[in-house]
Subunit: 522 residues, 2 copies
């Protein structure tokens, strides 16, 4: 049996080695893990072409693992600093009451997305309207489109080029749920950014329903119109954004059910959460010496990933002051002015080998914003998290760890030294956080195939089988009222109604007839 | 990466070797594949105890791979011949029109199940009311209950003993769908025995909805009452059959999406269709000589599995006469009186090495009743099927192969020689059947882990982690109206209604006020 598996692993992939893969990534933290996947694909002999913006934030134009082509992208009309503004606005929102807070945040995200969708639609138009560019891509005879559908560029381009498609996906901005991935009952599947768990009371389910209805309205009135002209000009009638997303052959979802709440899924969805994690490598000598100098107290690692300089100065000061009061040493990924209250135990660095640090035996806790990459590295290495969520799904991510007793979460909006210190001491001194996180870590490692092998297997599967249409649900071809069987329900209720109406009519005639006869008889 | 996988496979299982597994199988064809799984578990060092009936049809009391305990079971109060009667009744049903046929068949199955559930409930009562027996099981300190929930004995016993549970399941008689496995939208998930595909028109969706409503009514008025006394006496208040089934840690479903229509699934459901198949071994010399004697024409294999003697004599004669007219040789698994019309090319045997025969290069077609075991062996070896469905899910199984162009299906009810011969020739002479089946076979083999390895991995996973509660959906704790969010929908519609009512009221007051003022002014 083992031999058979070994043969599958060794022999089958050779059948599709040297395939040509077109990649449309999303910049920022999304690129961090896409690059890990591309590195693995390159090592297996595939030829990779990456579409990037000339003004890309993170995606280098020269790489030993791929060829790049510059195209107009979101990054051309926005910049990383806009995230800082957004984070400040989100913090402002979070100062208000729960109910208005939700609306305020949702409004911010909606405006951001409205803008983004229009830029993306313009970018796609620029590509599809350029016959030379399209000819170049067609002539390259790609075997696969690998894309992150958080933004829609790859989805449109892949469909236009009629390429088999694999999504490397954390979340999508349009139509997540029923009509793209799998049934998502609103009663126990919390909508992304709702900050709800899977066990909800009546009012929480109502909140989740409102989030869901909001996403439907947003999809219909905000997302779809942004692409309508583009769709009309370049795609067959009846095509919409959702139908293009549904055309994916395989969804590789960057999550794992030791972390995500159990939810319905589909045969063409595979879970690769933590695929980017690996065993810790030795640290650079200087950093290793710093770690060792912490003695039995150990080290706290802090990183906000690609949102490194997102915190307002007063929060940075509070954090620095709190760090100064713990016996542990601290390694802090930091950009900007050195906080005045910084203690001697804290080392500021503008880059850190996060995976290796989290896997170091001296590491006791991870202060993080709750981005997916960091969360999975923490799970992989079993390090409890003190969460400082800032944007998007980070609030949801940290809620999941908190629900499992593996994290504390503090609000960045008005963080004081005392609050942060209390939470930090709690994480460091209460053994259950570490124990729970190590349990998650143990379960996360207990898989028949590693997440990276799963990802590569299904990418190569789609290449060698030219798609995976047989795994795609027939439910996606139905209009929404048929999908929910409303037409049938109305029909059956109509029949039942008609039956009872006739029954009553007959009874009446019989009774009245009888009654009349009775009266006559009397 | 490969090395890591190899280590996982080699090392992790050793952690739970020598575990004690309690098995409650279902007799007949269900036992055929359960035994294959037990053989594999035994080879990995687990200690297996099987509960069986003293009058068991197929499960031997003495085995080198397990210890058996005799208990009262369904087999004590029914016999294999009752299947023959049932098949005849089903054939009678299938002579009527489509609409009445469905009702007729459903009525037969319902009566059968009503009887079965009462016997099973009695059997479980006998076990749970016997303190010596229960003490014996408790003292054995089992690590796992492995059961086939087609009948409920293992489900009840596993829950009562509070054992982690793994289901080896093809279908269940109670509550399949929304409330036990995964959301099963009636618009594209055909109900078992509905003989519908995933792509349905309006009337087909209506038919499927009626099947679904029938199953709900059956569950409520037929299944639940059979167990109510038992549940009241031995389980906490509020327990019902569905909640016991939902307690399964892992569902190992004997299907594969090269065969099954894509449908929603859950993180604790794994698909092991074809796990019992293996490469063909050499045939006994005599049989091999017969195969070789067929020359280029090849051989047709016919088997109705455990329903070997189910066909009425006139149908048997028609089949024999048709076989006599083809140039191929035929191996027919047969019990009973030798058909008068049997040709020289046909070899009757009362047992055949089905897997080895289907894997033989001379085999051209498989005439089968469409039981799951045979269907997967045909897929595994890429042999096209001529289906002769008789009972239960066999009609559904063969429909799936037919939809993929890999099978023809004939009705046994009134089969004539001409009909059978035409279908047989079609299967043998039209290359697309073989081509399509070999495509399915190719996809079926293209999996990262073999179905058997998947099964064993998750069984041992549940043993070493003492369950898999984190993979269980929170949706299952909700009452049905909350699961479907009907309470929230009513609440939101109420709010919206109230809003508009107030709006109209305010408008009226303002308008009327204005109107009155206007009148006054005039």
């Amino acid at each position: 049996m083992l031999l058979i598996r070994l043969c599958i692993l060794l022999l089958v992939p050779t059948l599709c080695r040297g395939s040509r893969i077109l990649v449309v990534p999303v910049d920022g933290s999304h690129w961090v893990n896409m690059e890990v996947m591309l590195r693995e694909l390159h090592s297996r002999g595939h030829n990779i072409t990456v579409l990037r913006s000339a003004k890309s934030w993170y995606i280098p134009s020269n790489s030993s693992i791929y060829t790049s082509i510059n195209v107009h992208m979101l990054e051309d009309e926005s910049n990383r600093d806009s995230f800082i503004t957004l984070i400040n606005d989100v913090m402002e929102c979070r100062r208000s009451l729960t109910f208005t807070r939700t609306f305020c945040q949702q409004h911010l995200l909606t405006s951001l997305m409205w803008n983004a969708h229009h830029i993306i639609a313009r970018s796609i138009s620029l590509m599809l309207d350029d016959p030379v560019f399209i000819k170049k891509l067609q002539d390259a005879r790609f075997d696969l489109m690998l894309t992150d559908p958080a933004l829609n560029m790859g989805v449109f381009l892949g469909s236009y080029l009629k390429l088999p498609m694999v999504f490397n996906v954390r979340w999508i901005n349009t139509g997540e749920g029923h009509f793209t991935i799998a049934p998502s009952p609103v009663s126990y599947v919390p909508v992304t950014t709702s900050e709800l768990a899977d066990q909800m009371g009546f009012m929480e389910r109502t909140k989740n329903m409102l989030h869901y209805l909001h996403s439907v309205v947003e999809q219909h009135f905000l997302v779809s119109p942004a692409y309508s002209d583009l769709l009309q000009r370049h795609f067959p009638p009846g095509t919409d954004v959702l139908s293009l997303q549904r055309a994916a052959d395989i969804w590789l979802v960057r999550t794992d059910f030791v972390f995500e709440f159990p939810r319905p899924t589909m045969p063409n969805v595979f879970y690769i959460g933590g695929f980017q994690c690996k065993k810790a490598k030795p640290l650079p000598a200087e950093l290793e010496a710093f770690m060792e100098s912490s003695g039995d107290h150990g080290v706290v690692v802090m990183s906000l990933g690609t949102l490194i300089s997102a915190l307002p100065p007063e929060v940075t000061e509070a954090i620095a002051a709190a760090f100064a009061q713990i016996p542990q040493k601290v390694v802090w990924k930091f950009l900007g002015e050195r906080p005045a209250s910084l203690g001697n135990n804290t080392l500021l660095v503008n880059w850190l080998p996060q995976n290796d640090l989290l896997g170091h035996p001296k590491t006791r806790a991870f202060v993080a914003h709750g981005g997916t990459n960091g969360v999975y590295e923490a799970i992989y290495h079993g390090v409890p998290v003190l969460g400082l969520p800032l944007l998007f799904d980070q609030f949801d991510n940290l809620l999941r760890l908190k629900m499992r007793g593996a994290a504390r979460v503090v609000e960045a909006k008005s963080l004081t030294k005392e609050e942060f210190l209390e939470a930090l001491k709690d994480i460091l001194e209460t053994p259950s956080y570490r124990k729970n996180m190590q349990h998650l870590s143990h379960l996360h490692h207990d898989q028949p195939v590693s997440p990276m092998d799963t990802a590569i297997f299904w990418i190569e599967y789609v290449i060698r089988n030219k798609g995976a249409a047989h795994l795609r649900s027939a439910g996606f071809n139905l209009p929404w009222y048929s999908y929910f069987n409303l037409d049938v329900a109305v029909f059956i209720m109509g029949l039942v109604g008609a039956f009872f109406w006739i029954l009553v009519l007959v009874c009446r005639i019989l009774c009245c007839g009888g009654f009349r006869r009775k009266i006559k008889a009397e």
